[in-house]
């Protein structure tokens, strides 16, 4: 393989780098990506533990929860709130966008680092501080914030109502800092992809996952601003005593709902797009086929990003919205399923006729398509105002968004970790343990959330600490479903140990692999595994698109982007 490239400047050898400058204060995009990944993994364990505690309370009300103790109603609210906040802001976003975005973007576009390496490190540091603050908010006097991750005022605006004089402002501060970190990171990503591409890496040759991370960054950038303004107002309501959201003083609590969901719903697509991008990369490698309709997928992800700004009010169908507006938002909400469906159909078309290899990353990618489909289809019930009025704030909603967020945040992450692990550490993860972990996660996941569709449809309202006070909602059938969901959660949690063992064992002891173990085309696989600081020995030149698999008349079934002929 010839590798014609521009001369790469190797001006200094940093043999004396200490552990601190190499792993903690590094400006290397790969180290920062792994920092986000490990922070996200630690926060996922915490968020998962919270889910275990409050599910135990729901299944076995008012009994001592092993490893925790008795759950009070106030603690229950704090657990539910922080489970949601942590899983979205401190797990899904840092792992999918910041973690893999950092790790992959420079490698995939053929560059040695981000265009602003120090800004990159700063954004991780701000993110880390935000994670520390959210942890502190759980243990301050009054305990963690319990006003749900949506933080609707007036409940969230006054300690008089939420009884968390410290928890609520600290929670808000943590979220705001997290936003700042991701704004800085997103600007860095966008400018890097715009300006630092290798020669020959034209727009239509950029791997789809890079495109999707950039589109997600732009959607985030455009949607989070109003919420930042709203959060400043809420923080002042909490601490100074302004009355922006207090209707008795001329304020408007609905204003917060608009500002929050104008960000909150696009946020779904902010994490969804990178996840689908990861899945697209993986299915084409393991089906050994060209990605079907690259340009259409790109177009649909842009369309998804744009439409995501016109759907927010479907969260407010029961908040006293004008029925004409409700109809309008029903239409725009259902409209967004079109580009997403097109994307999934393109993935299925990619699989069609491929020589599929069911390695662990591929299993996760296929599971993503199957499970996300359920999430998407059940979303139609909630996007339509007529059915939403009945299902609003029931466990049906909980089941629906877990069927979207679990594939996005967890399944796609496992797909990505198992797929890019050889690039990160130069070793492969164990396949048998990987498959055991896969089935030990997927089966319990469905056993948790299918029951919740049923309890939700039966009218079980969410955010209720104990259903014993509502005889019609604590029938034996509903209680059994709650127990089933809780036991399945415990089983799923236990199987995560398999993953952790596999991950940390393989990091040191896994089977050593070469630079390109999956015979993939994209540029990251042309760098050594793990890539050194600076990535490529010589800057690569790009000759073709990223998905040239199974090209007729070629000896090999793949054709890397940097190989001249």
């Amino acid at each position: 393989m010839s590798m014609p490239a521009t001369a790469h400047e190797v001006t200094a050898v940093h043999a004396l780098e200490s552990v601190w400058s190499r792993y903690v204060f590094s400006t290397d995009h790969k180290v920062i990506g792994l920092q986000y990944l490990f922070t996200g993994m630690a926060m996922a364990l915490l968020g998962g533990f919270m889910a275990y505690v409050f599910r135990m309370q729901l299944a076995f009300p008012d009994q001592v929860v092993p490893l925790y103790g008795l759950v009070t109603a106030r603690e229950y609210n704090a657990l539910v709130t922080n489970h949601g906040s942590i899983m979205i802001f401190w797990v899904a976003m840092p792992v999918l966008i910041a973690g893999f975005g950092n790790f992959l973007i420079p490698l995939m576009i053929g560059c040695d680092d981000m265009v602003f390496p120090r800004l990159n490190r700063l954004s991780y540091q701000i993110f880390f501080v935000s994670a520390v603050i959210i942890l502190i908010s759980l243990v301050v006097p009054g305990g963690g914030f319990g006003g749900a991750w949506t933080a609707y005022p007036p409940l969230s605006a006054s300690a008089q109502y939420n009884h968390t004089p410290w928890g609520a402002p600290l929670w808000l501060l943590a979220v705001a800092l997290e936003f700042v970190a991701f704004l800085l990171g997103g600007i860095n990503f966008t400018v890097t992809v715009m300006n630092a591409r290798a020669p020959g890496m034209t727009a239509m040759r950029i791997p789809i996952v890079v495109w999707m991370i950039v589109i997600a960054s732009l959607v985030f950038m455009a949607s989070v601003g109003p919420l930042v303004a709203g959060a400043v107002m809420l923080l002042l309501d909490q601490t100074v005593g302004t009355r922006f959201y207090d209707p008795t003083a001329g304020g408007d609590p609905l204003l917060w709902q608009h500002l929050f969901w104008f960000f909150g719903h696009p946020e779904v697509y902010v994490v969804l797009l990178p996840a689908t991008g990861i899945v697209a990369e993986i299915i084409t490698v393991f089906a050994r086929k060209k990605l079907f309709a690259y340009k259409t997928i790109l177009g649909t992800s842009i369309a998804t990003g744009i439409i995501s700004f016109f759907v927010w009010a479907h969260h407010q169908f029961v908040a006293g919205i004008d029925p004409r507006m409700a109809h309008l938002f029903t239409i725009t909400t259902l409209l967004i399923s079109i580009p997403i469906a097109e994307m999934l159909f393109a993935f299925i078309a990619t699989l069609y006729g491929g020589s599929i290899e069911l390695a662990t990353p591929m299993l996760w990618a296929l599971a993503f398509i199957a499970e996300f489909l359920i999430g998407g289809v059940t979303g139609i019930f909630l996007g339509a105002n007529a059915t939403d009025i009945y299902l609003h704030d029931t466990y049906f909603v909980v089941a629906h968004f877990h069927y979207t967020f679990f594939p996005i945040g967890i399944i796609a992450t496992f797909a990505a970790v198992t797929y890019w692990f050889p690039k990160m550490f130069g070793r492969r993860m164990n396949e048998t343990l990987g498959k055991l972990h896969f089935w030990g996660t997927i089966i319990p996941f469905n056993l948790i959330f299918i029951p919740l569709f049923l309890t939700g449809a039966a009218g079980q309202h969410r955010r209720i600490y104990s259903y014993e006070n509502f005889p019609q909602l604590s029938t034996p059938w509903l209680n059994q479903l709650a127990v089933l969901a809780t036991l399945a959660l415990i089983v799923m949690f236990v199987f995560q140990a398999v993953f952790l063992v596999n991950f940390f064992w393989s990091m040191r002891r896994g089977e050593k692999v070469g630079a390109n173990p999956w015979n993939a085309n994209t540029l990251e696989w042309s760098a050594p595994s793990p890539p050194p600081h600076g990535n490529f020995a010589a800057m690569p030149t790009v000759y073709r698109g990223p998905y040239e698999y199974g090209v007729p008349d070629r000896e090999l079934d793949y054709w890397p982007q940097h190989v001249a002929s």
Binding site: V10, M114, F116, M194, L236, M539
Partner: protein, 199 residues
Amino acid sequence: MSDAADVHTAHVPLATRRSTTGIPTARLAVWWVLASEIVIFGGLIGSYVMLRLHHPHWAEEAAHTNTIAGAFNTFVLLTSSLAAVLAHQAAEARDGRRAARFLGGTILGGLVFLVVKGFEWSHEIAHGFTIFRDVFWSYYYVACGLHGLHVIAGMIIMAIVAADARRGRNLHRVELIGIYWHFVDAVWIFLFPLFYIAK
């Protein structure tokens, strides 16, 4: 880690010096920063306008803001932007000392703006028009306060850029801080009529 890990490149990555689009990387970044700032102020100003439409009595509250002070401040801020443009022109001509002097003029403009604002606020607070009086005043203090924080941040960064420019270093940053300063101006152009004129 493998043996490849001891291959290290320079601390300044090649990435920072590339420009696929032809636009300098730093300038692109500043424009994206401003894009994200626009939606922050957009959220604040947009929600203020929507609520104002529902609360006609806000006009009576707005009558207590000092239009003349606001107009004077508008004049000061726009003039400071002129100095930023002249600084940019000097930086283009590689005259760092001249650029630094003009940036000093811009910082002075920001300072005058803040002093006038300080007098306004203390006068208003002394007369009972505090942040708690009405949601109009909450908006007034939050929007102007957020804008004021941007003025302060701009002045600090500009002082650093000017100190660098005086020594002939990082002259391209004179343009970047100028772009930011014009944005701060543009936000004020929206705040001035909304809080001072529309009564």
